[in-house]
Amino acid sequence: MNFIEFIFTHQGEIIEQTGEHIGLTVVALAIAVFLGLPLGIMLTRYKKFSPSVLGVIGVIQTIPSVALLGFLLPLLGIGVTPAIVALFLYALLPIVRNTYTGIEEVDPAVREAARGMGMSDLQILANVELPLAVPVIFAGIRTATVINVGVATLCALIGAGGLGAFIFRGIALNNVYMILAGAIPAAMLALFLDMILGLLQKFIRPLIKPILILSSLVVFVIIPFIIVPSFFVHPFTAGFTAEFMERSDGYPGLKKHYNLSLNTVELDPGLMYHALKEKKVDVICGFSTDGRILAFKLKVLKDDKHYFPPYHVAPLVRGETLRKYPVLRELFSKLADVITDKKMTELNFRVDYKKEPPSQVAKDFLTQMGLEVIKNKKDKADIIIGSKNFTEQYILAYIFEQLIESYSDLSVELKTGLAGTKICFDALINEEIDLYPEYTGTGLHVILKAEKEISNTILRDERKVYDFVKKESKKRYDLEWLQPLGFNNTYALMMRESQANELDIETISELEYFLNKND
């Protein structure tokens, strides 16, 4: 499928998202203009406040967009309202500052002459200062517009829609056409709105008075209208990442498998957990060993109909290394099936939220298991252990290292933080590392690229998946999957523990039952 075909098949969505994008931008911009203009004017009247007010607005501008959305989450939740508030805040600085500067830069002689002829302050403002400040004020509004069109793409991360939905889904799925289908209309939109404003600027002078009146109206009528509804109760909502929404083994399949029909919004992976904690959504798709499950008191719903593919972790070792150090097989059998989902969640939690070093967490874990940790480093490393670049992998790598060094006279070197499966796997094949912790599901899809027919037949059975990857890896790459450690880090639906207990929901089937009952 080429790009043009992609556009045609998705034109409905593109139009809808463009509409949402325009809506977000224009509403936020309108509020910013109608609030920012009076604020800028006030500052010229009460100059001593101007450094502090402009300073505060300037600081808001420096907050990274995703962080700002995060700050707004506890207050305004997710969806259109916080998106508009965030866009409004970003639009404020250029508008207020340019209004202030534009008016300040009016020739003092002109102002003195106006006053000397008997014009009142309001007449000077409407007939002299604003008309002369129009070019500068408009430059501010145009800057704000371009900023807003850009930032509005990020609003897809909090379920507000817009062209960002395509962009982030495209990034998650590594689909360039999808990214472009969001990025190109966004760029065109920025240019188009800028052009419209450029034209408007030429005809604005006679419109200054109506705009002043309208702006006071907006402040008192429209803003409360937008802000207030967000404080009311929302229906039972699911917050899913763009990737989960789009992947066939994500929400679309889940829906069919469980006959589940959820009210969904798209959320940023990082914000998703927060949104659940802050009761802005009621169910999310997380990973089953994420430390935040413990930190935010979440409950993982049991996948009772075995929908999510198994991602059991096991050490993936080069065959040659095993033949050279057969002791490894025996050593790793000590770890077989000893880490539960809950245990791994706790270990992740200690590193992510308690800020304990992964090596310490690994040591504590081994000690708890009754294994003694002794340090006996030699100069030259016998074995090199790799890991991917997220917390769980670091912890596992340290556990492996300490286990090997305590119970054999082999010396270990760590190469942690390799960015992604492909890099780890290539390092292993090229003998740059000897082993690293890998997930069976990843082995199936990414490393072995199993054909659809095969993966579909075995996908729901964790044992079959393990056996398949073990056999095929050995055959194709002379790699050995040792015994799984026990936990399964896969997609999982999760709810707040309190709500799940209250509604008595333990499994996804029970969630489905609850939702259908309430329809």
């Binding site: 102002r111 002459a113 002829m117 008997g118 007449q123």
Partner: protein, 324 residues
């Protein structure tokens, strides 16, 4: 017409204008003269309340200016400033019509008044009405500024260094027109300047200020020939000779001109109230040896015939007498 009583202005404890009092009759022109920072502009701006006085009173036509809204007061007072302050986004026509529009004049009346005023300040309306200020020279802008100040026919006009930004030649020309402008004859005017020639040229009375205080009020002749103190003497010292020739008229020195008539054809006539400086300048331009001039009274009666040399001699005699 205008009565200023004990006017005082303090800025953060510093006294800018200290207890100033003066008054003007209708149609009179008063010059506020002094160096920068002497309080002359502050005094002027307290009259249309662009600056509010700390204490003291101002009456215009018997009415206390504090009893009116500042905006209403200002609409009745013409105001011309050095930097002119034409509205750059208005045409010449719109600029001149600002005060009539503020006063909600009838449209037709405003249009005809605007044309009339542009004629008056020497700018042909058909050429200038639709132009923007940026298309005008400095002198033309100041003329528009003057027309704008006169638009609603105020009886009082305030000028804050109106010619200060113009080049010397344009300044001299506009000053001349200014003196002869008929519509200004009936106006009561206060004009701020630091230029002693401008003061002597334009003022019926001069109010010399220093450090917020009035040093002396009087005609130019009084200030130059009867200074109250050393400050007044020193202020005019640098240009003393030229100023003396400016403030004395032929009539002032008539008694010292020899009665014996000069025989021959007079090349030029002067009224007796002509300034000596003007007479000498005019005669100096005549390429003839010892040209004869004739002096007449305002009702065109011949008074005498004489020469520049005799006038000069008479001036020296009279001057010595005045300075005694």
């Amino acid at each position: 017409m205008i009565e200023v009583l004990n006017l005082t202005k303090k800025f953060n404890g510093l006294t800018a204008v200290d207890n100033c009092s003066f008054s003007l009759e209708k149609g009179e022109t008063l010059i506020l003269l002094g160096t920068s920072g002497c309080g002359k502009t502050t005094t002027l701006k307290m009259i249309n309340r662009l600056i509010e006085a700390t204490s003291g009173k101002v009456f215009i036509e018997g009415k206390n200016i504090q009893d009116q809204k500042p905006e209403d007061l200002r609409k009745q007072i013409g105001y011309v400033i050095q930097s002119i302050g034409l509205f750059p986004h208005y045409t010449v026509e719109q600029n001149v019509a600002i005060v009539p529009n503020l006063l909600k004049w009838d449209k037709k009346q405003t249009v005809s008044r605007t044309r009339e005023l542009l004629e008056l300040v020497g700018l042909p309306p058909d050429d200038f009405l639709k132009r923007k200020p940026e298309e005008l020279s400095g002198g033309q802008q100041q003329r528009v500024g003057l027309a704008r100040a006169l638009a609603a026919d105020p009886s009082v006009v305030l000028f804050d260094e109106p010619f200060g930004a113009l080049d010397p030649i344009t300044r001299r020309q506009i000053q001349k027109e200014f003196i002869n402008m008929e519509s200004l004859l009936q106006k009561t005017m206060i004009l701020v300047t630091h230029d002693v020639f401008e003061a002597c040229e334009l003022g019926d009375k001069i109010c010399l200020m220093n450090e917020g205080k009035i040093k002396q009020i009087g005609t130019a002749k009084e200030l130059i020939f009867s200074p109250h103190d050393d400050f007044v003497i020193n202020f005019f010292q640098a240009n003393r000779f030229q100023l003396e020739l400016m403030v004395l008229t032929v009539k002032d020195i008539m008694e010292a001109i020899p009665k014996k008539e000069c025989k021959g054809e007079a090349v030029q006539d002067f009224y007796e109230d002509a300034r000596i400086l003007d007479v000498l300048e005019a005669m100096g331009n005549i390429p003839q040896k010892e040209p004869i001039l004739r002096i007449k009274s305002r009702d065109n009666k011949k008074i005498c015939q004489t020469t520049s040399e005799r006038i000069m001699t008479a001036f020296y005699k009279k001057r010595a007498k005045l300075l005694q």
